[in-house]
Symmetry: C2
């Protein structure tokens, strides 16, 4: 690991800061202290200051942070000033849940197409489910920033290989499997089992 690299833990907290600041801005809060942010997010004020320091010191001792400015800066760090085109591969329950979720669009993520081995002329929220046979051709002829893998575990690696071969550089993976990808490809996993095991750990920690 490189010394200068921002730690995974900090990166994972950035969306929480962003969401917190967005709500504060909606509530017309102009300034906020590290203690107040810490209280909302259940982390220590010094952790808040340290985290935000990683991205340039936005706060001023005794004055707190400018909510809108800090929100905009974090949005830029998170790449939310851009637009991303997503395709969803696998239109089972998870795929359909993603197709039906409107929350991503406001952050600049737009689902452009969905693919499955079964299509049955289905449409979810205006997006037609295409046959997997059309996947490669679609990627070659459209801008695809992120491929979402929402297939069965058994075919997830094959799907990853296919989209990578077609030039996709970023994968959001919902299949319960660790994908093997070249170093140049980014994979972000959503692991339900890991989350459940963290819950179970915390239940046992209490006992």
């Amino acid at each position: 690991m490189k010394e200068k690299k921002i730690s995974q833990a900090v990166i994972k907290r950035l969306p929480k800061y962003y969401s917190c600041l967005r709500h504060l801005e909606e509530d017309n809060v102009a300034k906020i202290s590290s203690s107040e942010i810490g209280k909302i997010l259940d982390i220590t004020p010094s952790q808040v200051r340290q985290d935000l320091c990683n991205f340039g010191g936005f706060g001023q001792q005794g004055y707190g942070y400018d909510v809108s400015k800090l929100k905009e800066t974090i949005a830029t760090i998170l790449g939310l000033d851009k637009q991303y085109s997503l395709i969803i591969i696998g239109a089972g329950n998870i795929g359909r849940a993603l197709l039906g979720y409107t929350g991503f669009k406001k952050h600049g993520f737009e689902v452009k197409a969905a693919f499955d081995v079964k299509t049955d002329n289905l449409k979810y929220d205006g997006i037609e489910v295409r046959h997997m046979d059309e996947l490669a051709e679609y990627i070659r002829t459209h801008q695809v920033d992120i491929a979402v893998i929402a297939t069965q575990k058994t075919v997830a690696q094959d799907v990853a290989d296919e989209v990578i071969a077609c030039g996709v550089k970023s994968i959001w993976n919902f299949a319960p499997i660790d994908l093997n990808v070249p170093k140049s490809v980014i994979v972000e996993n959503i692991s339900m089992t890991e989350s459940l095991l963290v819950l179970s750990y915390r239940m046992n920690e209490l006992e």
Copy 2:
């Protein structure tokens, strides 16, 4: 934060260690070094040693870790030597994806019932979807270790309040909202938006 408390980052890595060790055991690997574990999980060997040290030193310099023993110890830490009864509230796409996922059972998590405002006599993988009106009575008369909230964002807090009032102590939350709960209740969130924003951060970091 208490000094002795295991950090969130370490806790979140525990399921990864567990899954890695489970696969090694299946492949009949008896011993493994911190470097090898690190290589599989893409973390430094010193981080591996430090993490596992938190739970008592299982390794021996120059000999590595006993795969089965370490797996069992981590399983116990994660509470996987126990059985948990889950109920799923909300039988939309996410709820149905959870009902259909068989992977939890092998870790001791069993879905016992599902609830929704619409029932239509639906059954998923042998589990009948009951009406929300039956929720309180069900919790009062059955063992419910974990309530899974897979409802719309708008009703998630009400559902949380109801299950907590009936005595549920642990919530696995899929709704995109931060639940307000008493200190004694454990909530583990799965946030798809946060995961997507981490992906977006990493895409921009590369540029």
